[in-house]
């Protein structure tokens, strides 16, 4: 029985893996040979060691951060898609909403975190709100573009049988917007993670990897800070991959051009 040819896959996986390994080894050597203080830079090996031995803690806090991130993403993108559907149909709504949306976008929304904590308390609510606020804009802009990216001849056909506005939306605009929505989700999924972590810094003591990083930084346990960051990287990879896989499931129109951010 012939083994599957792994060479093509390896040619993609090996170079970055080797580069990463080389980087880790050089940091390890630098820290050991240069006798760098562990208060400045932990050894990569001790980071890994700590990550493995305390995996339960990182995983638990990570799940909390991921839940906040996904909650914010769901809330932000759902609100943005609904708003975009309105804007795509109404010029007045577009003129009213878009300037405000852009104003919120150019403001660093993490500046609202202290306010949100006052208004919404120390629970999950202000964190989800921040993650949502940080994710809505790419989805809004892409969804508007998608709902409007309709072949005028197709629209003519819908009109020629007197299709309703709802039918045009359901059978023409919405499917046309799917690739745009996925393109924006790829951007927003990592943004929501940023929002969740930064919000957790402020609501320290309430769990999550952001709070853990904050706590361990105060203890000067840099190995634990790095281990928490490693967990965040894994969450980021998982979430981004999930979006890509979800898009594959919706394999429609993948041969069509997809809007940039």
């Amino acid at each position: 029985m012939a083994l599957p040819d792994l060479r093509p896959a390896l040619s993609w996986i090996l170079p970055p893996l080797i580069a990463l390994l080389l980087f880790a080894v050089s940091v390890e050597l630098w820290v050991r040979i240069g006798e760098v203080s562990i208060w400045i830079m932990p050894r990569p090996t001790s980071v890994i060691e700590n990550f493995v031995s305390d995996f339960g803690v990182y995983f638990r806090e990570g799940m909390q951060t991921m839940a906040i991130s996904l909650g914010g993403l769901a809330l932000g993108s759902a609100a943005a898609t609904i708003l975009a559907a309105g804007v795509a149909h109404s010029q007045i709504l577009e003129r009213a909403v878009l300037p405000i949306a852009i104003m919120v976008k150019v403001t660093p929304v993490v500046a609202f975190i202290p306010l949100f904590i006052i208004w919404l308390g120390y629970g999950w609510e202000p964190k989800v709100a921040i993650a949502a606020l940080i994710t809505y804009f790419p989805v809004l802009i892409n969804a508007i573009a998608g709902f409007r990216d309709v072949d005028p001849r197709m629209h003519d056909f819908f009109r020629s049988v007197d299709a309703s506005t709802w039918e045009v939306f359901r059978h023409l605009r919405l499917p046309a917007a799917v690739p745009y929505l996925f393109a924006s989700l790829k951007i927003s999924v990592t943004l929501s993670l940023i929002g969740a972590v930064v919000a957790e810094f402020f609501a320290a003591g309430q769990g999550g990897l952001g709070a853990l990083i904050w706590f361990e930084q105060n203890n000067l346990r840099l190995d634990r800070v790095f281990a928490a960051v490693l967990m965040l990287t894994m969450i980021g990879v998982t979430l981004s991959t999930a979006v890509v896989l979800a898009e594959r499931l919706f394999s429609w129109r993948l041969d069509q051009p997809v809007a940039a951010s």
């Binding site: 056909f157 819908f158 009109r159 007197d162 041969d255």
Partner: protein, 279 residues
Amino acid sequence: MIKHPIEPDAEPAVRLREVRLTYETKEGALLQAVDPTNLTIRAGEFTALVGPSGCGKTSLLRIIAGLTPPSDGVVKIFGQTPKDAQRHKRLGLVFQEPALLAWRSVEDNVRLGLQLNPRETHSSTDVNELIELVGLRGFERYRPAELSGGMQQRAALARALAIDPPLLLLDEPFAALDEITREQMRYELQRLWSISHDPTDPPRSAVFVTHSVAEAVAIADRVLVMSPRPGRIIADIPITAPRPRRPEHEHADRFINDTAIVRAALRSPTTTAVPLDAA
């Protein structure tokens, strides 16, 4: 099932009275796209509209379809406004581009017209039979991107025919196809126009916009020639060749004579060659 019978006392398929179309350009100048036009197309008539590019033949078709409102004049489709004709699904549109929904299979694209505005879906069209008629059997589950241009246009034809419209409106449907496919498609269109049609309606009419004289003469009962902008019907030439027409007829003297008459009318856009019928 609501059925809107068309009165048999011969409402014409299309009646245009003093229909005019004026655009305002970006500079604010008024541009006359279609000069005042009177036109009657009888039920069952296959009418071709030929003319140079930009002469307003597509604009005229869009006015008939109710997609572009005329600046002036009256449009009646079987005695109704174009809007009512749309509502009762009496118009079957085919464009130069297939304009199929990329995310739907051939079968679901053909079904689209039946699915939209469902209160008016009274036709008992068998979608699978129609797909077979246009020669796409075996490709029901394919997506448009997996088909050739000619096959996509066949699917677009099937989609237009699915609602069994008494009036077909075709805007250069074969212009984007290669020569061999397009010569074949005109006879396919003739066949589809003449069959699979609700017998309680009048015979199916068609308005066929093209810039190919051979195509127009090969398939139509009547060729309307338009002048360059502002578009005006300058000749109305009957084509009396018997049906069904066949590709070999394109070598007959009658065909060659008829194309010569149409070409002459196209070359002398200032003369009114044949009197227009009084609408």
